[in-house]
Symmetry: C2
Subunit: 181 residues, 2 copies
């Protein structure tokens, strides 16, 4: 696994950041190049089209999902609690990749939609053995979705103040009670 060129990663970081903070519309190649500190020509050497730039982000997401699923399966506190706690956006690389990909998905970007689908399927597979019924698994996934996508909506101003700390632990306790095997 060779280290990718630094400029390439900087471009990808910038593109991701603009998608998250300012939305799909603002995430132009021009704005991305400027934010990455390279010229448009420089960007176009690494990503020849906008589609290639978007695809670069999806590849990054897929790699981070691999790591995440492994962490869920081996969590000491139990997969469900770990999964819900890690569903609160912490600005971690995976969180950022998910939000950026979901921005692309909303414009109908097929690879982004497929990658998010697969991510969800893998989470479900990892959690299924730890829930007592389909409804229980659905409940866990829905709460996770709520935690993620609520905070993802507003950029600076999240749509809602998602429960944190004590409040989050209380919700996790309610869910664990409801789904106990």
């Amino acid at each position: 696994m060779s280290r990718p060129p630094l400029a390439r990663e900087k471009v990808l970081d910038a593109f991701e950041r603009i998608l998250i903070d300012e939305g799909e519309r603002a995430a132009t190649m021009d704005a991305t190049a400027r934010a990455a500190g390279v010229s448009k020509g420089g960007l176009l050497y690494h990503f020849g089209t906008k589609e290639a730039l978007e695809a670069g982000l999806i590849v990054r997401l897929a790699e981070l999902v691999d790591e995440d699923v492994a962490a869920i399966e081996s969590a000491a506190e139990g997969p469900v609690a770990y999964f819900l706690r890690s569903s609160v956006m912490e600005n971690a690389p995976l969180d950022r990749a998910i939000i950026a990909a979901s921005r692309l998905a909303q414009s109908g970007n097929a690879p982004a939609i497929a990658a998010l689908h697969e991510m969800r399927a893998r989470w479900e597979d990892a959690l299924r053995p730890h829930t007592r019924s389909t409804a229980a698994l659905d409940l866990v996934m829905l709460v996770s979705d709520g935690l993620y996508f609520n905070n993802a909506l507003g950029g600076d101003a999240p749509l809602t103040v998602v429960p944190r700390g004590e409040a989050l632990e209380a919700v996790i306790a309610l869910v664990e009670e409801a789904i106990r095997l």
Copy 2:
């Protein structure tokens, strides 16, 4: 309350539809005019700027939220069950307005963010008397968010197959058990 001009409503419908199905990027004034069956000049008579067009959508959302909160408060089956069941996107006018507004919110559109915040606050106020704790209210809101925004992501291809029918009822039963007063 006088009936607004037909062309104006057609423009708003078209703008909303493109935002939902194709995303923020595709929702240009040109594309909106074409989809509404009017010329760009015709559109600009009703909405002089893109900002005005976006504001028109937010006004529509606010009106639909008023109706929805009234329906929640007077639901025969109980506010929580009604609220969760109606959180599954049914392509109703309110659902469409929420998704369209959330597309705008993701670009940092301040009125859209404010309107979605207020909507959420009003839902919480309506449901609070019917939950036994803050955590219980959080749980209900998170499940609702999960139901909404998951289906909202993909346009044609929703991110996940949100539980419907029997499966949805099972989740609602789990939640009602967990939050019982």
